[in-house]
Amino acid sequence: MSNHQKILAAIPGIFFRKPSPEEADYVNEGDVVNEGDTIGLIEVMKTFYEVKAESAGVIESFLISNEEIVEAGQELAVLNGQSK
């Protein structure tokens, strides 16, 4: 049974998929993540807020590109929480 969950932006700002410009993306589509893993950052007010997976699963797709502007509550990624 697959269980699709949307990972939402808690705050408005700029979405980043990597910790810094020189580093690799936190996760790629198809990667397995654990509960609490960081999947991206949102920058607002010179503060970086870590976006975390709320449960374990596979990142099925990102709905927002790196450095795109997001609104609070916007869907960032789809997590397939199927049992491993």
Partner: protein, 332 residues
């Protein structure tokens, strides 16, 4: 005591502000949306200048370790007690052990949490407000962190019953498009007539660089009148000889991306300030989020003062409504 389980994005202790030190370079700090802040204190019977928590974008999780009367006002970041939705703009009774948490922000940007008695932190230069850039005021001069303990003070003047509520017509509504009223000046003469006209006709969008210090806007380049820069002014056409910056003043460094200076901003410098946000609309500014749009509207000083009086009348109406028959109305 109130225990901080998780702090939110930027939750700080704020009161009416550190007033009277502007000339030595100390900005006032204090609640960004003074109307919502004041109403939160009124709802729990506090001294109007009692310290509250200012919550920005993302709410904290707080655990009350004693019974308390609280009120939440400001933008809509839907609050929950023990997971159950509770209303804003209403005095709420919480019990020891209760947990206050929040849903994602819906409208506005900042919520004020008043606790009957206020948040008790040391008074620095006449205020409990947090000024993070200097690391003073509030709790150790910084935003809240997990495991902080907040002490409830004794800044209470009136006894208000849980369930007391502000009338709907006195609750401000926030949207994603904002009109912000400004008084032209001090250095608007530096802009070309065309740029002055454009400043008031376009929709400015709020960048992610928008916090208690200031809000930066994106729109289009504004041009300054060409001149030979006077002695003492910087070489960029947006520079003037240093002046004190009014709170709420708008400057346009190099003509790109206007910045509105707010509660925690630098108090003076050498950029031309082209307009100043009127005091009542500073409250609205505090409820604007990154990515939203602002249209600036030019008003006269008389209109600004009339708006201020109207807001004061609203606060007096709330006081009458809350305190009539519970020990009298205190109006100065």
């Amino acid at each position: 005591m109130i225990k901080v389980i998780s702090p939110g994005l930027q939750t700080t202790v704020q009161d009416g502000g550190r007033i009277g030190f502007y000339e030595v370079g100390m900005p006032p700090s204090g609640a960004m949306d003074k109307y919502s802040y004041t109403v939160s204190n009124l709802l729990v019977g506090n001294n109007e200048n009692a310290a509250t928590l200012e919550i920005t974008y993302l709410g904290p999780v707080l655990e009350f370790q004693e019974d308390a009367l609280i009120a939440l006002t400001g933008g809509e970041i839907p609050p929950k007690i023990n997971g159950e939705a509770v209303p804003m703009w209403e005095a709420l009774s919480v019990k020891a052990g209760d947990r206050l948490s929040f849903d994602f922000v819906k409208q506005g940007a900042r919520v004020y949490l008043a606790v009957a008695g206020g948040i008790d932190v040391p008074v620095i230069m006449g205020s409990r407000s947090t000024y993070t850039l200097c690391g003073i005021g509030g709790l150790e001069g910084r935003p809240l962190q997990a495991n902080d303990q907040l002490v409830i003070g004794a800044d209470r003047l009136h006894s208000v019953q849980a369930g007391a509520r502000v009338a709907d017509e006195l609750i401000p509504l926030f949207s994603k498009k904002h009109e912000i009223r400004v008084v032209l000046g001090l250095c608007s003469y530096r802009l070309t007539e065309e740029s002055k006209e454009r400043f008031f006709s376009i929709d400015w969008s709020v960048t992610p660089e928008a916090n208690r210090v200031g809000y930066r806007f994106k729109g289009e380049r504004l041009n300054f009148v060409e001149r030979e820069q006077p002695f003492g002014a910087g070489s960029n056409p947006s520079n003037v000889v240093d002046l004190g910056y009014p709170i709420g003043s708008i400057q346009v460094p190099d003509g790109v991306e206007p910045i509105a200076l707010l509660n925690d901003a630098v108090t003076g410098g050498g950029y031309a300030t082209i307009a100043t946000i009127i005091s009542t609309d500073l409250n609205k500014m505090g409820q604007i989020k990154t990515n939203e749009t602002v249209k600036f509207v030019s008003v006269s000083i008389e209109e600004a003062l009339a708006a201020r009086k109207e807001e004061k009348d609203k606060l007096n109406a709330i006081k009458e409504q809350l305190y009539l028959g519970t020990g009298g109305v205190i109006n100065e």
